[in-house]
Amino acid sequence: MTSILDWQRTTVVPYTIQSGYPRFLSNDENCVSRVRDLDRLPHNFDSLDVDGKESLQVGHTKRLSCQLFVLANAKYNRPHFDALLQKVNPLHADVVSRAGFPWNEDLVAFQNALLDIIGNWERFSTDQPSPLEYSAEEVLKWRHEYTEWAESHDSLEAFRSDIGINEED
């Protein structure tokens, strides 16, 4: 035995929806734009004060971890690496997961995910127009509600992190 993994709450769903980054290897869900040149600390790192070093070290570790995850996929899991390169897959995964949530305040994130699909429609179809149309007023309202929701959500995550809990615990 080389390792143990908890598979609780894992489901079998279409590959294009399953593909993605583990949260702790996602560079705070920003992913990385390049993998060929591994992230490095700046040349003047040793001359910085403790706080400056810590801040840079944290960011560097997040970016490098994400790059190594992508490279490991390229070497050991080519289909998943190819899926990671498809920019449309995170949009798929987001809207599908939002659609599957019970209706409540998450409706705001669901509507925002629909707007993201329309905003990136050229990635879904190049020869057919989007089947969805919303008024400019609706788009503005939904985006505003989402911004408000996302800020609150981030605050809640920060509170949880500060006291050492998360949604999974």
Binding site: M1, T2, S3, I4, L5, D6, W7, Q8, R9, T10, T11, V12, V13, P14, Y15, T16, Q18, S19, G20, P22, R23, F24, L25, A83, H92, V95, V96, A99, G100, F101, P102, W103, N104, E105, L107, V108, F110, Q111, L114, I117, F124, S125, Q128, P131, L132, E145, E148, W149, S152, H153, L156, E168
Partner: protein, 113 residues
Amino acid sequence: MRGFGTTVDATSTSTVAHVTVFAIKLIIGTTSRDYLLSIGECERTRDSKFALPMRREHFFSRSDREIEPRDHIRSLDDFDRLVRYMCSANDVPALRQPDLHLSISLSIPSTWR
């Protein structure tokens, strides 16, 4: 895509992911399209049977406007209209831990080869 359930009875041992005890319409299928449509159908059924207008949680929104079940149903209808564009030949079923993190995994480096 194959492998998303072929059971036709909504029993407690059903292998169909989105069958619920109060479902009035079952979507039984073997394709990613069936799977995606079943998501919307399940939530739409729940909304139409149980959902009521609801105040937003003040922590998440300062709006006094209530969330209407019909808003959610409309979004689910819109989601259904996108489904055909979200299916592809690469939609093979995949098992993947969606939230891998260090707390749920244990590696034993001494056994690595």
